[in-house]
């Protein structure tokens, strides 16, 4: 067991965790933050994508103990005071969500891209979300949402 202090979505948590506790499971089961999902448990599908110290990671590949002292942001932090972020609004507008299981990871992944690159190209968007599997949408409307969110979609 290890005692960890961790900041999640702006709130401090101090918890005892087993050395083998996976960060994703810690977030979902210990903190009840279930937006991030487990799609494979092997770092292949990206459904568990979260921000760890400003960078997106597959939280199924990180131990909670490793994240001691770090700052984490999940999809739960995206809407503020009951209103959607712009990125969420563009996901809604373009129907970039079908079953919704990849969505938490997808939005986190896209958010990181837009923080780094205000006007990403289609290729850059595809590169960024290559590790975020979506079995429903064919990615097309997700790419549209990102283009629109970055002011690059003619309408």
């Amino acid at each position: 067991m290890k005692k960890i202090s961790i900041k999640v979505n702006g709130e401090m948590y101090v918890r005892e965790v087993a050395d083998s506790r996976i960060l994703l499971h810690f977030l979902r089961e210990d903190l009840g933050l279930t937006a991030a999902k487990e799609g494979c448990g092997a770092g292949e599908c990206g459904a568990c994508t979260i921000f760890l110290n400003g960078r997106v990671v597959n939280s199924c590949l990180v131990l909670a103990a490793e994240a001691d002292g770090s700052e984490i942001v999940t999809l739960e932090n995206e809407s503020k005071d009951g209103s959607l972020s712009d990125l969420q609004k563009f996901f809604q507008k373009h129907q970039a969500v079908q079953c919704g299981y990849c969505t938490a990871g997808m939005i986190m992944s896209v958010k990181e891209l837009l923080l780094r690159n205000a006007k990403p190209s289609v290729e850059q968007i595809k590169d960024q979300i290559e590790g975020n599997f979506c079995r429903c949408t064919g990615y097309s409307q997700i790419i549209d949402a990102v283009l629109d969110a970055s002011g690059q979609l003619d309408k």
Binding site: C40, C134, G138, I143
Partner: protein
């Protein structure tokens, strides 16, 4: 239910989905997210052999482990599970029939304890020679995988098992006299095509929480697609009244057919009972999703086509060998459904079809988006190109000669009319979209640099595969403020069903879309009956039920209004939440005033809470006559075409898909964004089948690639430069606002479009899926061995 209404306010518009808000905020709850008081966790011990006798199973050490609340083996579970053919045990008994089949299960306080217990279970097997492909399974001396086939319950009107063999079902279609047609043909073209099994890969694996409570009351929470079918099959297997079983389905992370029937629910129920009635959760790992839970059928398809000297198809003999794996599940119905459709949208005057559902020692098979049509379309559309090549005519011209038009008949004898959908218009549309027969300046440049551009058009058609008497219900309750709640049992698996239904209800009631609330969760206790969420029948069936429910609700509102306004119902109309007298529009009552009973100033009440009910049942469909397959199976035919452009390297075989343009006769688009989403999603899923997915086994039937490392699905990087969607709208007379089903059809024929485009680009003959670059490279090397005469008899 088509009415030529030109003033539609919501139908056909790109309206945000009802389920999105909860999903983009993370609020949406899935079965995998759920935690219940006292909940225990389950794991399954699976077979390392494809075929073996279980000699002994020792669970004593597992049972002794602290924190273990129950261990189950097949020996104590005498329940058979099955949809159409009841052939599966909850856990294997005496024999295992595929790699990854469950032989024991543990329920424990947490997953770590459960895993330790699983490791302590000792199983001794006597491995047997597995049957690993359909051709071997049909050999005279093949081991019989289900010796008790003759004693299994099955749905007799539709299926024909062959006890003593590995044939779980034989479907026959006989139209006209195919031998005579062949005798009259100038050319006979025959070739065989194969598809491997693939996985559905819903992002949420199968998950269930079950609590077997006192007095056999069973509560199930599940990621299943079809709440009432889970209830029905559970009731049948456990011989319990339906009223004892409650199924609740929250948000579901994708289904694609893999969650259509019953999956892990019976096992989890038994584990709960074993653990004294505490709720038990099981979530399949990604690996278990590949080998313990069902996959798509594999197929070997032999097609023999008789052609006139003009290139008209005179007769066609189709032999489909479906690899069901160890249990029949939906595979028998895939065989039946393709028995009336495996000719695609081509007119075959004389047809003969044999479809065999074949047991093998491979993971078992079920429905998958397209329900067999993705598989047979691979062979069929490759074969149509071979026929064109035989005749020396362009593949497009060949299709034009043979495609359905009004007056054509399907292979079950159903007449295609002008209202059935216009596949010809779809083909013309995608032909233009890909610039068929020409090269753009950019494409010429690509060719100048040594690459090859290939273009192809392929067609598809799909009807729902469902019992002829399938029914759906919607109820609509009016709230105090005049808004409404619609309830139905179409599981929201990503397809947007509830959004379309809300649009239909808003349109009918002429109230704002936001005033229609739909309950996304399905619950057999609170929601009205629907057979299943499958087959691309939801919009059609529940759309019609919802129109009827809305009309029923309006009738009740009108009745109260006519009393209050002292007029005849016939003189009333409604708009914006008011019912008014047509010739005195200022005389009105609001929906809110009548919603839960109209009150006069003195307190007298009339009416009462308003509830609209709509039931719809498929009309005019018949079971198919078992010896000929003739009859009326199709609720509606969604027909369409893909145009595909590939860029390929003639040396290495590497290729990219530049464009896929899809045109479909949807009758009427209800929600443009949803229709696009269904189309692009299906096309990219179809690309997965085409370019990279497929089960690979070793020579003992062990699955070698049950993970995303070795069994990739398409990523964003695989998406073509251009995906295009062209809806065609020839109204379906009995479709809601003229609409047809859309969920599955656009996945059909994507793979064959890629295969035909590669043939156009490089002249390669591809007969097996998937088409990886190395397969194209091999096919390039194999080109010199191709001889048309091997496949064609000229008379």
């Amino acid at each position: 239910m088509y009415e030529n209404d030109k003033n539609l306010k919501f139908i056909g518009k790109d309206i945000p989905r009802k389920d999105t808000l909860a999903k983009i905020t993370g609020e949406a709850m899935y079965t995998t997210d759920m935690v219940l008081p006292g909940m225990l966790h389950a794991l399954v011990k699976v077979s390392p052999y494809a075929s073996a006798k279980i000699l002994s199973l020792d669970t004593s050490k597992a049972e002794a482990l602290p924190g273990v609340r129950g261990v189950l083996t097949g020996a104590e579970l005498d329940y058979k599970i099955g949809l159409y053919l009841v052939d599966k045990d909850v856990l294997a008994k005496k024999f295992v029939r595929h790699y990854g089949e469950g032989v024991a299960a543990v329920v424990a306080d947490d997953l770590k304890i459960a895993q330790n217990a699983i490791d302590l279970i000792e199983v001794k097997y006597e491995p047997m020679k597995p049957v690993l492909n359909v051709k071997d399974a049909l050999k005279k001396d093949a081991p019989v995988i289900h010796p008790d086939l003759g004693s299994y319950d099955y749905f007799e009107p539709c299926f024909t098992p062959k006890p003593g063999t590995n044939i779980a079902n034989h479907t026959k279609t006989r139209k006209g006299d195919v031998e005579k047609a062949f005798a009259n043909s100038d050319y006979i073209v025959e070739r065989e095509y194969t598809n491997p099994a693939v996985q559905h890969v819903p992002m949420e694996t199968h998950a269930a929480i079950v609590q077997w409570k006192v007095d056999n009351n069973i509560q199930i929470w599940s990621s299943a697609q079809s709440a009432f079918t889970v209830r029905n099959l559970m009731a049948n297997s456990f011989k319990l009244p339906h009223s004892k079983i409650k199924v609740t389905i929250p948000n579901v992370g994708g289904g694609f057919g893999g969650k259509a029937g019953v999956g892990i629910e019976p096992l989890v129920a038994c584990l709960s009972r074993k653990a004294g009635g505490r709720p038990v959760k099981f979530v399949a790992s990604r690996e278990e999703e590949f080998y313990m839970l069902p996959r798509r059928t594999g197929l070997v398809y032999n097609i023999k086509t008789g052609l006139s000297k003009e290139g008209k198809i005179l007769g066609q003999k189709m032999s489909l060998y479906w690899d069901a794996g160890a249990y029949a599940d939906y595979a028998v119905n895939v065989t039946r459904a393709t028995g009336y459709s495996a000719n695609g949208p081509y007119h075959i005057p004389d047809a003969w079809l044999d479809g065999y559902t074949i047991y093998t020692n491979l993971p078992y098979s079920t429905a998958y988006r397209g329900f067999g049509h993705v598989e047979f379309s691979w062979g069929l559309e490759r074969h149509m190109d071979l026929c064109a090549q035989t005749m020396g005519i362009d593949p497009y011209e060949f299709r034009k000669l043979n495609m359905y038009k009004p007056g054509s008949t399907t292979i079950t004898g159903e007449e295609i009319t002008a209202d059935s959908g216009n596949v010809r218009k779809c083909v013309e549309t995608v032909k233009e979209a890909i610039g068929y027969g020409t090269l753009t300046a950019e494409e010429k440049q690509i060719e100048a640099k040594g690459k090859k551009i290939g273009k192809a058009m392929v067609t598809f058609k799909k009807a729902p595969a469902m019992p002829a008497f399938t029914g759906s219900t919607t109820t609509i309750r009016m709230n105090e403020d005049g808004t409404v709640n619609a309830n139905l049992t179409l599981t929201e698996i990503g397809q947007g069903a509830y959004t379309a239904i809300a649009q239909i209800v808003a349109e009918r009631l002429r109230i704002p879309y936001d005033d229609v609330n739909v309950t996304i969760y399905c619950d057999t206790e609170h929601d009205p009956y629907d057979w299943q969420t499958v087959a691309s029948k939801g919009l059609f069936m529940s759309g019609n039920a919802s129109i009827k429910a809305a009309d029923d609700l309006l009738e009740r509102v009108y009745k109260v209004a006519s009393e209050v306004l002292r007029c005849d119902v016939i003189d009333l109309d409604h708009q914006d939440g008011k019912v008014f007298i047509k010739h005195h529009p200022k005389s009105f009552v609001t929906f809110a005033q009548v919603a839960v009973g109209y009150a006069y100033p003195n307190g007298n009440g009339v009416g009462g809470p308003i509830l609209g009910v709509g039931s719809y049942i498929a009309q005019g469909l018949t079971n198919l006559e078992k010896t000929t397959g003739q009859g009326y199976p199709a609720l509606d035919w969604t027909m369409g075409a893909h145009g595909v452009i590939v860029e390929a390297d003639p040396e290495s075989g590497e290729y990219t898909i530049k464009k896929i343009a899809t045109a479909m006769d949807l009758g009427k688009v209800i929600n443009l964004g949803c229709a696009k989403g269904q189309t692009f999603g299906a096309v990219v899923q179809g690309m997965g089948t085409g370019v990279c997915e497929g089960y690979i086994y070793d020579d003992q039937g062990k699955l070698m690639n049950p993970n995303f490392t070795d069994n990739k699905i398409p990523t964003s990087k695989d998406v073509p430069e251009s995906l295009e969607f062209y809806p065609i709208e020839t109204p379906q007379i009995d479709g809601p606002y003229g609409a047809r089903g859309i969920g599955e059809p656009p996945m059909v024929s994507v793979a064959s479009g890629i295969g035909n485009a590669l043939k156009d680009a490089l002249g390669v003959e591809l007969l097996n899926l998937p088409i990886r670059s190395e397969d194209v490279w091999r096919a390039i090397a194999d080109k010199e061995n191709f001889n048309l005469k091997d496949y064609v008899t000229k008379k």
